[in-house]
Protein backbone atom coordinates (compact mmCIF):
# COMPACT_ATOMS: atom_id res chain seq x y z
CA UNK A 1 0.00 0.00 0.00
CA UNK A 2 1.58 3.30 -1.02
CA UNK A 3 -0.06 6.08 0.96
CA UNK A 4 -0.91 9.04 -1.25
CA UNK A 5 -2.63 11.34 1.23
CA UNK A 6 0.34 11.99 3.49
CA UNK A 7 2.82 14.82 3.76
CA UNK A 8 6.29 14.49 5.24
CA UNK A 9 9.05 16.34 7.06
CA UNK A 10 12.72 16.01 6.19
CA UNK A 11 13.10 14.34 9.57
CA UNK A 12 10.88 11.48 8.43
CA UNK A 13 7.64 12.27 10.19
CA UNK A 14 4.42 11.71 8.24
CA UNK A 15 1.25 13.71 8.72
CA UNK A 16 -2.33 13.14 7.56
CA UNK A 17 -4.58 16.19 7.64
CA UNK A 18 -8.32 15.58 8.01
CA UNK A 19 -10.14 18.87 8.47
CA UNK A 20 -8.46 20.61 11.39
CA UNK A 21 -6.88 17.49 12.78
CA UNK A 22 -3.36 16.33 11.91
CA UNK A 23 -2.34 12.76 12.76
CA UNK A 24 1.44 12.28 13.06
CA UNK A 25 3.84 9.37 13.04
CA UNK A 26 7.23 8.32 11.74
CA UNK A 27 7.74 6.71 8.37
CA UNK A 28 8.64 3.07 7.71
CA UNK A 29 12.00 4.35 6.44
CA UNK A 30 12.67 6.10 9.77
CA UNK A 31 11.62 3.04 11.76
CA UNK A 32 13.89 0.84 9.69
CA UNK A 33 16.83 3.22 10.20
CA UNK A 34 16.26 3.40 13.94
CA UNK A 35 16.12 -0.36 14.44
CA UNK A 36 14.18 -1.86 17.30
CA UNK A 37 12.33 0.94 19.10
CA UNK A 38 12.14 0.40 22.85
CA UNK A 39 10.83 3.67 24.28
CA UNK A 40 8.65 6.55 23.15
CA UNK A 41 8.17 9.89 24.88
CA UNK A 42 5.22 11.95 23.64
CA UNK A 43 4.16 15.50 24.50
CA UNK A 44 1.40 16.08 27.02
CA UNK A 45 -2.12 16.49 25.68
CA UNK A 46 -3.01 20.18 25.74
CA UNK A 47 0.51 21.35 24.98
CA UNK A 48 0.90 23.82 22.13
CA UNK A 49 3.71 22.96 19.76
CA UNK A 50 5.30 24.92 16.96
CA UNK A 51 6.03 23.56 13.51
CA UNK A 52 9.34 21.66 13.27
CA UNK A 53 10.07 21.90 17.00
CA UNK A 54 11.21 18.80 18.90
CA UNK A 55 8.17 17.56 20.79
CA UNK A 56 9.09 14.03 21.82
CA UNK A 57 11.69 11.31 21.81
CA UNK A 58 11.98 7.94 20.13
CA UNK A 59 14.56 5.60 21.59
CA UNK A 60 15.91 2.56 19.82
CA UNK A 61 18.28 0.08 21.42
CA UNK A 62 21.32 2.03 20.30
CA UNK A 63 20.18 5.64 20.00
CA UNK A 64 17.91 8.50 21.02
CA UNK A 65 16.07 10.47 18.30
CA UNK A 66 13.92 13.55 18.48
CA UNK A 67 10.35 13.63 17.20
CA UNK A 68 9.53 16.84 15.34
CA UNK A 69 6.07 18.36 14.89
CA UNK A 70 5.16 18.60 11.20
CA UNK A 71 2.66 21.37 11.94
CA UNK A 72 2.01 23.71 14.85
CA UNK A 73 -1.03 23.64 17.14
CA UNK A 74 -2.48 22.03 20.25
CA UNK A 75 -1.82 18.37 20.99
CA UNK A 76 -5.29 16.83 21.27
CA UNK A 77 -4.45 13.15 21.64
CA UNK A 78 -1.49 10.79 21.96
CA UNK A 79 -1.39 7.06 21.26
CA UNK A 80 -1.64 5.36 24.64
CA UNK A 81 -0.65 1.98 23.15
CA UNK A 82 2.92 3.11 22.53
CA UNK A 83 3.93 3.20 26.19
CA UNK A 84 3.49 -0.55 26.50
CA UNK A 85 4.17 -1.47 22.90
CA UNK A 86 6.83 0.80 21.38
CA UNK A 87 7.52 -1.92 18.82
CA UNK A 88 4.33 -0.80 17.01
CA UNK A 89 6.50 1.90 15.48
CA UNK A 90 8.51 -0.85 13.78
CA UNK A 91 5.65 -3.17 12.89
CA UNK A 92 2.95 -0.68 11.81
CA UNK A 93 4.34 2.87 11.69
CA UNK A 94 1.59 4.13 9.37
CA UNK A 95 -1.32 2.49 11.19
CA UNK A 96 -1.38 1.36 14.80
CA UNK A 97 1.95 3.16 15.33
CA UNK A 98 0.41 6.64 14.94
CA UNK A 99 1.89 8.87 17.62
CA UNK A 100 -0.12 12.04 18.22
CA UNK A 101 -2.85 14.33 16.90
CA UNK A 102 -2.52 18.10 16.60
CA UNK A 103 -5.26 20.69 16.05
CA UNK A 104 -3.88 22.67 13.11
CA UNK A 105 -3.77 26.46 13.55
CA UNK A 106 -2.35 27.47 10.18
CA UNK A 107 -3.04 25.28 7.16
CA UNK A 108 -0.50 27.25 5.13
CA UNK A 109 2.21 25.43 7.13
CA UNK A 110 1.42 22.31 5.15
CA UNK A 111 3.04 23.97 2.14
CA UNK A 112 6.40 23.65 3.91
CA UNK A 113 6.09 19.86 3.99
CA UNK A 114 7.21 17.35 1.37
CA UNK A 115 4.65 15.60 -0.75
CA UNK A 116 4.81 11.87 -1.53
CA UNK A 117 7.14 12.10 -4.53
CA UNK A 118 9.44 14.63 -2.84
CA UNK A 119 9.74 12.36 0.20
CA UNK A 120 10.41 9.31 -1.96
CA UNK A 121 13.13 11.28 -3.72
CA UNK A 122 14.62 12.23 -0.36
CA UNK A 123 14.88 8.67 0.87
CA UNK A 124 16.11 7.27 -2.42
CA UNK A 125 19.03 9.70 -2.32
CA UNK A 126 19.97 8.59 1.19
Amino acid sequence: MVPQDLRYTKEHEWVRIEGDLATVGITPYAAEQLGDIVFVELPDVGRTVTQFSAVGVIESVKAVSDLFAPVGGEVTETNAELAGAPELLNSDPLGRGWMLRIKVVDHAQVDRLLDQSAYEALISEA
Binding site: V38, E59, V61, K62, V64, E87
Partner: protein, 370 residues
Protein backbone atom coordinates in the same frame (compact mmCIF):
# COMPACT_ATOMS: atom_id res chain seq x y z
CA UNK B 1 50.90 -6.39 7.63
CA UNK B 2 50.60 -2.64 7.55
CA UNK B 3 47.42 -1.23 9.01
CA UNK B 4 46.34 2.10 7.62
CA UNK B 5 45.02 4.49 10.21
CA UNK B 6 42.16 5.49 8.01
CA UNK B 7 40.77 2.50 6.15
CA UNK B 8 38.82 0.04 8.26
CA UNK B 9 39.69 -3.65 8.31
CA UNK B 10 37.27 -6.31 7.19
CA UNK B 11 36.88 -9.79 8.60
CA UNK B 12 36.96 -12.83 6.33
CA UNK B 13 33.17 -13.05 6.75
CA UNK B 14 32.38 -9.62 5.33
CA UNK B 15 30.68 -11.00 2.22
CA UNK B 16 28.55 -13.33 4.32
CA UNK B 17 27.28 -10.44 6.45
CA UNK B 18 26.34 -8.39 3.42
CA UNK B 19 24.56 -11.37 1.87
CA UNK B 20 22.63 -11.86 5.13
CA UNK B 21 21.44 -8.27 5.00
CA UNK B 22 23.50 -7.06 7.94
CA UNK B 23 23.74 -3.38 8.82
CA UNK B 24 27.50 -2.79 8.83
CA UNK B 25 29.14 -0.32 11.21
CA UNK B 26 32.68 0.69 11.95
CA UNK B 27 33.90 -0.54 15.32
CA UNK B 28 37.48 -0.40 16.63
CA UNK B 29 38.76 0.12 13.11
CA UNK B 30 36.81 -2.82 11.66
CA UNK B 31 33.66 -3.04 9.56
CA UNK B 32 31.38 -5.27 11.60
CA UNK B 33 27.75 -6.40 11.53
CA UNK B 34 25.70 -4.38 14.01
CA UNK B 35 22.55 -6.39 13.39
CA UNK B 36 20.85 -8.67 10.86
CA UNK B 37 17.17 -9.30 11.64
CA UNK B 38 17.23 -6.82 14.51
CA UNK B 39 18.90 -6.46 17.90
CA UNK B 40 15.92 -7.58 19.97
CA UNK B 41 15.24 -10.63 17.82
CA UNK B 42 18.90 -11.67 17.89
CA UNK B 43 19.13 -11.09 21.66
CA UNK B 44 16.07 -13.23 22.30
CA UNK B 45 17.36 -15.93 19.97
CA UNK B 46 20.58 -16.19 22.00
CA UNK B 47 18.67 -16.40 25.28
CA UNK B 48 16.26 -19.07 24.02
CA UNK B 49 18.09 -20.92 21.23
CA UNK B 50 21.44 -19.74 19.83
CA UNK B 51 23.16 -16.94 17.98
CA UNK B 52 26.26 -17.10 15.81
CA UNK B 53 28.72 -14.22 16.05
CA UNK B 54 31.70 -13.13 13.92
CA UNK B 55 34.32 -11.99 16.43
CA UNK B 56 37.29 -12.12 14.09
CA UNK B 57 38.19 -8.54 15.00
CA UNK B 58 39.40 -9.64 18.45
CA UNK B 59 43.12 -9.97 19.18
CA UNK B 60 44.80 -13.34 19.65
CA UNK B 61 48.33 -13.26 21.04
CA UNK B 62 50.29 -16.46 21.57
CA UNK B 63 53.01 -16.59 24.20
CA UNK B 64 55.32 -19.61 24.06
CA UNK B 65 58.53 -20.61 25.82
CA UNK B 66 59.98 -22.03 29.01
CA UNK B 67 59.19 -18.84 30.93
CA UNK B 68 55.74 -18.23 29.45
CA UNK B 69 53.84 -18.55 32.73
CA UNK B 70 56.23 -16.32 34.64
CA UNK B 71 56.30 -13.78 31.84
CA UNK B 72 52.53 -13.48 31.77
CA UNK B 73 52.41 -13.32 35.56
CA UNK B 74 54.68 -10.27 35.31
CA UNK B 75 52.72 -8.66 32.47
CA UNK B 76 49.18 -9.27 33.77
CA UNK B 77 47.33 -8.98 37.05
CA UNK B 78 46.52 -12.70 37.34
CA UNK B 79 48.84 -15.68 37.75
CA UNK B 80 48.55 -17.87 34.66
CA UNK B 81 50.91 -20.38 36.27
CA UNK B 82 47.83 -21.46 38.24
CA UNK B 83 46.04 -22.55 35.09
CA UNK B 84 46.01 -26.22 34.22
CA UNK B 85 46.55 -27.01 30.55
CA UNK B 86 43.22 -26.70 28.81
CA UNK B 87 41.85 -24.11 31.26
CA UNK B 88 41.35 -20.35 31.03
CA UNK B 89 40.74 -17.39 33.26
CA UNK B 90 39.62 -13.77 33.02
CA UNK B 91 42.49 -11.33 33.51
CA UNK B 92 43.57 -7.76 33.05
CA UNK B 93 46.64 -5.94 31.84
CA UNK B 94 47.17 -2.74 33.80
CA UNK B 95 49.23 0.39 33.36
CA UNK B 96 51.99 0.97 35.92
CA UNK B 97 49.67 3.55 37.56
CA UNK B 98 47.09 0.81 38.15
CA UNK B 99 44.52 1.74 35.51
CA UNK B 100 43.21 -0.90 33.12
CA UNK B 101 44.81 -1.21 29.68
CA UNK B 102 42.52 -4.08 28.65
CA UNK B 103 40.53 -6.97 30.02
CA UNK B 104 41.48 -10.33 28.63
CA UNK B 105 40.98 -14.04 28.68
CA UNK B 106 44.12 -16.13 29.08
CA UNK B 107 43.97 -19.72 27.83
CA UNK B 108 46.61 -22.30 28.68
CA UNK B 109 47.24 -24.47 25.63
CA UNK B 110 50.32 -26.26 26.98
CA UNK B 111 52.89 -26.20 29.76
CA UNK B 112 54.73 -23.51 27.84
CA UNK B 113 52.03 -22.16 25.54
CA UNK B 114 49.30 -19.62 26.21
CA UNK B 115 46.80 -17.67 24.12
CA UNK B 116 45.79 -14.20 25.28
CA UNK B 117 42.58 -12.84 23.76
CA UNK B 118 42.25 -9.06 23.77
CA UNK B 119 39.51 -6.64 22.80
CA UNK B 120 39.61 -5.45 19.20
CA UNK B 121 39.88 -1.85 20.38
CA UNK B 122 43.06 -2.63 22.33
CA UNK B 123 44.62 -5.43 20.31
CA UNK B 124 47.52 -3.33 19.08
CA UNK B 125 48.10 -1.68 22.47
CA UNK B 126 48.08 -5.06 24.22
CA UNK B 127 50.45 -6.50 21.64
CA UNK B 128 52.86 -3.59 22.12
CA UNK B 129 52.63 -3.74 25.92
CA UNK B 130 53.18 -7.49 26.00
CA UNK B 131 56.15 -7.20 23.65
CA UNK B 132 57.76 -4.69 26.02
CA UNK B 133 56.90 -6.59 29.21
CA UNK B 134 57.91 -10.02 27.90
CA UNK B 135 61.24 -8.82 26.52
CA UNK B 136 63.25 -9.94 29.52
CA UNK B 137 61.86 -13.49 29.56
CA UNK B 138 62.66 -16.57 27.47
CA UNK B 139 59.45 -16.50 25.50
CA UNK B 140 58.24 -15.73 22.01
CA UNK B 141 55.25 -13.45 21.46
CA UNK B 142 53.33 -14.32 18.31
CA UNK B 143 50.58 -11.81 17.52
CA UNK B 144 48.24 -13.79 15.30
CA UNK B 145 45.29 -11.40 15.56
CA UNK B 146 45.08 -10.68 11.85
CA UNK B 147 45.64 -14.34 10.94
CA UNK B 148 42.95 -15.70 13.29
CA UNK B 149 39.21 -15.87 12.79
CA UNK B 150 36.76 -16.30 15.66
CA UNK B 151 33.23 -17.63 15.26
CA UNK B 152 31.18 -17.85 18.44
CA UNK B 153 27.96 -19.77 18.98
CA UNK B 154 26.15 -18.76 22.16
CA UNK B 155 22.86 -19.90 23.68
CA UNK B 156 21.32 -22.96 25.32
CA UNK B 157 21.27 -24.93 22.05
CA UNK B 158 24.96 -24.27 21.31
CA UNK B 159 26.35 -27.64 22.35
CA UNK B 160 23.80 -29.52 20.25
CA UNK B 161 24.69 -27.40 17.23
CA UNK B 162 28.46 -27.70 17.55
CA UNK B 163 28.84 -31.31 18.71
CA UNK B 164 28.18 -33.00 15.34
CA UNK B 165 30.66 -30.63 13.67
CA UNK B 166 33.64 -31.25 15.94
CA UNK B 167 35.89 -34.01 17.21
CA UNK B 168 36.25 -32.15 20.51
CA UNK B 169 34.18 -33.92 23.17
CA UNK B 170 31.97 -31.04 24.28
CA UNK B 171 30.55 -33.02 27.22
CA UNK B 172 34.01 -33.01 28.70
CA UNK B 173 34.65 -29.33 28.00
CA UNK B 174 33.83 -27.33 31.13
CA UNK B 175 33.04 -23.65 31.29
CA UNK B 176 36.34 -21.74 30.81
CA UNK B 177 38.08 -24.74 29.26
CA UNK B 178 39.67 -24.99 25.82
CA UNK B 179 40.64 -27.90 23.57
CA UNK B 180 42.38 -28.36 20.24
CA UNK B 181 40.64 -30.32 17.51
CA UNK B 182 38.64 -29.73 14.36
CA UNK B 183 35.40 -28.00 13.48
CA UNK B 184 33.88 -28.79 10.06
CA UNK B 185 37.16 -30.51 9.26
CA UNK B 186 39.17 -27.36 10.02
CA UNK B 187 41.88 -27.33 12.73
CA UNK B 188 40.47 -25.22 15.53
CA UNK B 189 40.69 -24.23 19.15
CA UNK B 190 37.31 -24.69 20.82
CA UNK B 191 36.76 -22.73 24.04
CA UNK B 192 33.73 -22.81 26.29
CA UNK B 193 33.80 -19.08 26.93
CA UNK B 194 31.65 -16.17 25.88
CA UNK B 195 30.29 -12.72 26.56
CA UNK B 196 26.56 -13.35 26.74
CA UNK B 197 25.84 -15.07 30.06
CA UNK B 198 24.67 -18.20 28.18
CA UNK B 199 26.41 -21.51 27.52
CA UNK B 200 28.43 -21.24 24.36
CA UNK B 201 31.61 -21.81 22.44
CA UNK B 202 34.25 -19.70 20.76
CA UNK B 203 35.93 -21.33 17.77
CA UNK B 204 39.36 -20.03 16.74
CA UNK B 205 40.71 -20.93 13.29
CA UNK B 206 43.00 -19.55 10.61
CA UNK B 207 41.36 -16.69 8.70
CA UNK B 208 41.32 -18.72 5.50
CA UNK B 209 38.93 -21.23 7.05
CA UNK B 210 36.48 -18.76 8.57
CA UNK B 211 33.85 -19.04 5.86
CA UNK B 212 33.81 -22.84 6.05
CA UNK B 213 33.29 -22.78 9.82
CA UNK B 214 30.69 -19.98 9.70
CA UNK B 215 28.67 -21.71 6.99
CA UNK B 216 28.80 -25.06 8.79
CA UNK B 217 27.74 -23.65 12.15
CA UNK B 218 24.92 -21.53 10.74
CA UNK B 219 23.69 -24.41 8.64
CA UNK B 220 23.76 -26.81 11.58
CA UNK B 221 22.00 -24.21 13.71
CA UNK B 222 19.09 -23.66 11.31
CA UNK B 223 17.28 -26.75 12.53
CA UNK B 224 17.01 -25.31 16.06
CA UNK B 225 16.40 -21.71 15.05
CA UNK B 226 19.91 -20.31 15.52
CA UNK B 227 20.44 -16.93 13.87
CA UNK B 228 23.41 -14.75 12.97
CA UNK B 229 23.84 -12.13 15.71
CA UNK B 230 25.71 -8.83 15.59
CA UNK B 231 27.47 -6.38 17.88
CA UNK B 232 24.22 -4.74 18.93
CA UNK B 233 22.88 -7.90 20.52
CA UNK B 234 26.36 -8.71 21.85
CA UNK B 235 26.19 -5.49 23.84
CA UNK B 236 22.67 -5.94 25.23
CA UNK B 237 23.46 -9.55 26.17
CA UNK B 238 26.68 -8.75 28.05
CA UNK B 239 25.02 -5.84 29.82
CA UNK B 240 22.23 -8.08 31.13
CA UNK B 241 24.94 -10.51 32.24
CA UNK B 242 26.71 -7.72 34.16
CA UNK B 243 29.90 -7.98 32.11
CA UNK B 244 32.06 -4.88 31.74
CA UNK B 245 32.93 -3.34 28.38
CA UNK B 246 36.30 -1.67 27.92
CA UNK B 247 35.70 1.94 27.08
CA UNK B 248 32.57 2.04 29.22
CA UNK B 249 33.13 0.30 32.59
CA UNK B 250 36.87 -0.16 32.17
CA UNK B 251 39.51 2.30 31.10
CA UNK B 252 42.77 3.92 32.00
CA UNK B 253 41.05 5.85 34.80
CA UNK B 254 39.59 2.78 36.52
CA UNK B 255 41.37 0.15 38.58
CA UNK B 256 40.11 -3.43 38.74
CA UNK B 257 39.03 -2.63 42.31
CA UNK B 258 36.74 0.18 41.14
CA UNK B 259 35.03 -2.29 38.84
CA UNK B 260 34.52 -4.79 41.65
CA UNK B 261 37.08 -7.14 40.12
CA UNK B 262 39.57 -7.57 42.94
CA UNK B 263 39.50 -11.30 42.12
CA UNK B 264 41.72 -10.64 39.08
CA UNK B 265 44.34 -8.74 41.08
CA UNK B 266 46.78 -11.35 42.29
CA UNK B 267 48.53 -9.39 45.00
CA UNK B 268 49.36 -12.68 46.74
CA UNK B 269 51.31 -14.01 43.77
CA UNK B 270 55.08 -14.18 43.91
CA UNK B 271 57.16 -11.64 42.13
CA UNK B 272 56.51 -8.23 40.77
CA UNK B 273 53.95 -7.44 38.13
CA UNK B 274 53.24 -4.25 36.21
CA UNK B 275 51.02 -2.04 38.35
CA UNK B 276 51.64 -3.93 41.61
CA UNK B 277 52.72 -0.95 43.68
CA UNK B 278 49.86 1.24 42.47
CA UNK B 279 47.32 -1.54 42.97
CA UNK B 280 48.56 -2.29 46.50
CA UNK B 281 48.12 1.39 47.28
CA UNK B 282 44.67 1.44 45.67
CA UNK B 283 43.57 -1.55 47.69
CA UNK B 284 44.79 0.00 50.89
CA UNK B 285 43.01 3.28 50.16
CA UNK B 286 39.75 1.63 49.14
CA UNK B 287 37.85 2.27 45.91
CA UNK B 288 37.22 5.84 44.80
CA UNK B 289 34.08 4.73 42.99
CA UNK B 290 32.04 1.54 42.80
CA UNK B 291 30.45 -0.17 39.85
CA UNK B 292 26.76 -0.89 40.47
CA UNK B 293 23.72 -2.06 38.58
CA UNK B 294 20.72 0.20 38.14
CA UNK B 295 17.11 -0.50 37.27
CA UNK B 296 15.23 2.62 36.20
CA UNK B 297 12.00 2.76 38.18
CA UNK B 298 10.52 5.72 36.28
CA UNK B 299 10.07 6.19 32.56
CA UNK B 300 13.18 6.50 30.43
CA UNK B 301 16.40 4.77 29.50
CA UNK B 302 19.60 5.63 31.36
CA UNK B 303 22.45 5.81 28.87
CA UNK B 304 26.24 6.16 28.88
CA UNK B 305 27.26 9.52 30.28
CA UNK B 306 23.99 10.36 32.05
CA UNK B 307 24.63 11.77 35.52
CA UNK B 308 23.37 10.39 38.83
CA UNK B 309 22.17 12.44 41.79
CA UNK B 310 21.22 12.02 45.43
CA UNK B 311 19.12 15.13 45.94
CA UNK B 312 21.26 17.91 44.51
CA UNK B 313 24.56 16.09 44.88
CA UNK B 314 26.06 14.50 41.82
CA UNK B 315 27.09 11.02 42.94
CA UNK B 316 27.97 9.18 39.78
CA UNK B 317 27.62 8.55 36.07
CA UNK B 318 26.10 5.84 33.88
CA UNK B 319 28.66 3.76 31.98
CA UNK B 320 26.29 1.56 29.93
CA UNK B 321 22.53 1.37 29.67
CA UNK B 322 19.69 0.02 27.57
CA UNK B 323 16.18 -1.34 27.69
CA UNK B 324 16.66 -4.93 28.85
CA UNK B 325 15.02 -7.25 26.33
CA UNK B 326 14.83 -10.10 28.86
CA UNK B 327 13.67 -8.12 31.89
CA UNK B 328 11.54 -5.54 30.06
CA UNK B 329 12.89 -2.64 32.13
CA UNK B 330 15.68 -0.13 31.56
CA UNK B 331 18.95 -1.34 33.10
CA UNK B 332 22.32 0.30 33.44
CA UNK B 333 25.77 -0.03 34.93
CA UNK B 334 27.20 3.00 36.64
CA UNK B 335 30.00 4.24 38.85
CA UNK B 336 28.83 5.83 42.09
CA UNK B 337 30.51 7.26 45.15
CA UNK B 338 31.11 4.23 47.40
CA UNK B 339 29.07 5.62 50.28
CA UNK B 340 26.01 5.87 48.02
CA UNK B 341 26.34 2.43 46.49
CA UNK B 342 24.16 0.25 48.72
CA UNK B 343 21.75 -2.10 46.93
CA UNK B 344 18.18 -0.89 47.28
CA UNK B 345 19.17 2.77 47.36
CA UNK B 346 16.97 4.92 45.11
CA UNK B 347 18.93 7.61 43.27
CA UNK B 348 18.03 9.95 40.43
CA UNK B 349 19.23 9.68 36.85
CA UNK B 350 19.33 12.84 34.77
CA UNK B 351 17.62 11.81 31.54
CA UNK B 352 17.61 14.78 29.20
CA UNK B 353 17.26 17.25 32.07
CA UNK B 354 14.58 15.27 33.92
CA UNK B 355 15.40 13.47 37.17
CA UNK B 356 14.09 9.91 36.96
CA UNK B 357 14.32 7.49 39.91
CA UNK B 358 16.47 4.37 39.64
CA UNK B 359 17.24 1.61 42.12
CA UNK B 360 20.74 0.31 42.79
CA UNK B 361 20.80 -3.47 42.36
CA UNK B 362 23.54 -6.10 42.52
CA UNK B 363 25.00 -7.42 39.28
CA UNK B 364 24.28 -9.40 37.20
CA UNK B 365 20.78 -8.57 36.03
CA UNK B 366 20.43 -11.96 34.37
CA UNK B 367 21.80 -15.41 35.17
CA UNK B 368 21.12 -18.34 32.91
CA UNK B 369 18.84 -21.03 34.30
CA UNK B 370 20.85 -23.83 35.90
Amino acid sequence: MAQSQNSPLVTPLADRHVALGARIVEFAGWLMPLQYAGILEEHRAVRSRAGVFDLSHMGELFVEGPEAANALSYALTTDPANLKVGRAHYSMICFPEGGVLDDLIVYRLGDERFMVVANASNAVAVSDALAARLARFRVVLDDRSLATALVAVQGPRSAGILAPLTDVALDGLRYYAIAEGHVAGIPALVARTGYTGEDGFEVFTDVGAAVTVWDAVLDAGKAVGAVPAGLGARDTLRLEAGMPLYGNELGRDTTPFDAGLSRVVGLAKEGDFVGRAALEKARAEGPRKMLVGLVVRGRGIARHGYELFAGDRKIGVVTSGTQSPTLGVPIAMAYVTPSEAGPGTIIDVDIRDQRVPAEIVPLPFYKRPV
